[in-house]
């Protein structure tokens, strides 16, 4: 059996590691962006809920105070 040359194995290992690192970074960034969007949506939902509740609670005041 002809054994594979050592430098080819080393180059393959280095390339594999680099690809893994780049892939991991890209995946991490994508995940972070998605998380950020989710947080924004949650915050907006809470704000909307509070606003609707406030409007409902204060409808009578607004009528009388106006």
């Amino acid at each position: 059996m002809k054994r594979p040359k050592r430098h080819i194995i080393v180059v393959l290992l280095v390339c594999g590691l680099a690809a893994l690192l780049v892939g991991r970074t890209i995946t991490w960034r994508m995940w972070e962006y998605l998380n950020k969007l989710n947080q924004q949506i949650k915050k907006d939902q809470i704000l909307l809920g509070q606003a609707e509740e406030e409007i409902k609670e204060n409808a009578e005041y607004v009528e009388k105070m106006g």
Partner: protein
């Protein structure tokens, strides 16, 4: 180059060096195998490693023989192997390997799982040949050995830590150890026989080299006498030659080269003579030291191979087995060297001096089955497709989230005007709160309702204004404060409060009432004054003047001061509030 020979009771190590056209044999080494260690490759390996280290041979390259077990060497025509075995850089196809394993199995009578193969063609092993070169070869030599034995030697080599280049069949190594006796033979067909006390190795060669190697067992146990071995040898060997004469008369050897181990080397001469008489072929006795320079010997010169039995020293001149010195650094005798014949053959293999050798450290056979060519393209396509699918899924998810966020923002923006109104209302409330006593508790919306209602009922600012508004809230039981609400203020005319008004005022009041309670206004024209409007309200009842109007001449615009009390209507709704 080290040659290591593993026999049943002893590991023998020789070291050969090239010297000119010959080889220098350094004092060999023997490591006895204790019975309890015979089956333990790790223990044996450690012991061998220590012995080599003590001699300073630890880092030398080594060829090791496989211990005496079943082995098989047969020359096969290319057609017999079948299939295009030249594909994949000399590696064999699975079917070809199976055919070869079956061939070896029929002779060795062991299962195919316990067999390893190695192939050899003229010049070098098949694995190192280019496909084009293999195609040109007419014959291929097939060697087979037991896998368990090969594994044993591999473990031993790992445990000892020595650099083992290859593993050789012991039978072939024995024959190769006698190389300098037969490799210049003038005959076309020869046979090389190496006789040991338990077995005999017979190699048949023609002009193209080795074509068959057979091993015959002479005695069943290791304790058999020399006489028994000789008798068995003289009985079995002629049969082998006769079989060859019948099956392949064109390759019957014209000369037999006979070598032996130290135990039988004394009786080699009469054995050769008897064999010659039985098979009718000339027999030459091999010198164990032929072609070698033995280090430390007095002459230290090349030994020439003996041509015939008569040229070899008679047995009486050779030392007997008991006379072999135990100290290994002393120059070995001829009889000593005879025992190292397989080790010398292995070392010659490593030095590429022998014409035929196998390498069972890197055998073919089962191992080549794993080497199926696998295309990388499907894997790359699958990986790219997976990455693209993942990206598409992520983008769709992001798009969905962005849409959701935008919708929420639009909804929030739509609510902004409402929120602004609330903020304004809150601001107004804070302004009004400064008029309330800080100690007053209660529901602010109830106050707001009362204030809102009074604001609606109150006459115009030009006619009246409030100086105080007291909201007690609960109906008091004390006679001093019988009502819930006390309103005091100043008024321009008394009629504005009591309702006894003229036509002019009536119109004004009517306008005010229409804005507040248009239903009641349409039913009756009587209810006109502030008190009447209080009584008509949904929020108040029992409105009356608490005291008569008081005249204050100093105030021209609002000369009368008034005081009105009323109660809150206690409906279910207001009670709940």
């Amino acid at each position: 180059m080290l040659g290591i020979d593993i026999s049943e009771k002893m590991i023998r190590v020789v070291r050969l060096r090239r010297r000119g056209s010959g080889f220098l044999l350094l004092p060999p080494l023997e490591v006895p195998i204790e019975p309890q260690q015979a089956d333990d490759p790790v223990a044996l390996g450690k012991r061998l490693g220590e012995a080599l280290r003590s001699r300073g041979w630890y880092k030398k390259k080594t060829v090791m023989t496989l211990p005496d077990r079943l082995c098989f060497i047969r020359r096969l025509p290319k057609e017999e192997i079948g299939g295009d075995h030249t594909k994949n850089k000399g590696r064999l196809h699975k079917t070809t390997v199976e055919n070869l394993l079956n061939t070896a199995r029929q002779t060795m009578l062991v299962s195919a799982d316990d067999l390893v193969l190695d192939l050899w063609t003229k010049g070098r092993p098949l694995a190192t040949k280019k496909p084009a070169e293999v195609k040109r070869e007419a014959v291929i030599l097939l060697g087979a050995a037991q896998k368990s034995v090969v594994d044993f030697c591999r473990e031993l080599a790992v445990a000892s830590g020595i650099k083992v280049l290859s593993l050789e069949l012991r039978s072939l190594a024995s024959v190769n150890g006698l190389l300098f006796n037969w490799h210049e033979a003038s005959e076309e067909n020869i046979a090389v026989v190496f006789l040991s006390s338990q077995q005999v190795d017979i190699a048949f060669m023609d002009v193209e080299g080795l074509f068959s190697l057979q091993t015959l067992k002479l005695t069943s146990g290791s304790e058999g006498s020399v006489k028994d071995s000789e008798v068995a040898f003289l009985q079995q060997l002629p049969r082998v030659f006769n079989t060859l004469k019948l099956s392949d008369p064109g390759r019957v050897p014209q000369r037999v080269f006979l070598g032996a181990s130290s135990r039988l080397i004394g009786s080699l001469s009469p054995l050769a003579e008897q064999l010659r008489q039985k098979i009718g072929i000339e027999v030459s006795i091999c010198s164990p030291e032929a072609g070698l320079v033995v280090a430390g010997s007095r002459k230290e010169k090349h030994n020439r191979p003996s041509e015939t039995a008569s040229h070899f020293p008679p047995a009486s001149q050779l030392p007997s087995v008991s006379q072999v010195p135990s100290a290994l650094h002393t120059p070995p005798t001829v009889a000593d060297t005879a025992d190292f014949q397989p080790a010398i053959g292995a070392a010659l293999d490593g030095l590429a001096a022998t014409p035929t050798w196998f390498d069972f450290r890197h055998p073919q056979g089962k191992f080549s089955e794993k080497k199926k060519p696998v295309s990388w393209k499907p894997f790359v396509f699958a990986a790219v497709a997976s990455i693209l699918l993942g990206c598409a899924f992520w983008l769709s998810l992001v798009q969905q989230k962005i849409t959701e966020r935008d919708q929420l923002n639009i909804s929030l923006n739509q609510l902004q005007p409402e929120l602004e109104k609330i903020a304004e209302a809150k601001n107004n409330w804070h302004r009004f709160r400064s008029y309330l006593p800080s100690s007053q508790g209660g529901d602010r919306l109830s106050y707001l309702n009362i204030l809102y209602e009074i604001n609606q009922i109150m006459p115009n600012t030009g006619e009246a204004y409030l100086t105080s508004l007291t909201i007690i809230g609960k109906k008091s039981t004390s006679p001093a404060t019988p009502s819930d609400i006390l309103i005091t203020g100043r008024v321009s005319k008394g009629d504005v409060i009591t309702g006894k008004v003229g036509p002019g005022e009536e119109t004004t009041v009517k306008v005010s009432l229409q804005e507040i309670t248009p239903a009641k206004d349409s039913q009756s024209d009587v209810s006109t004054g502030f008190i009447a409007r209080l009584n008509n309200s949904n929020l108040f009842n029992k409105a009356e003047q608490a005291a008569s109007l008081t005249l204050d001449v100093t105030d021209n615009l609002y000369p009368f001061s008034f005081s009105v009390t009323c109660n809150l209507r206690r409906t279910e709704k207001t009670t709940a509030k």
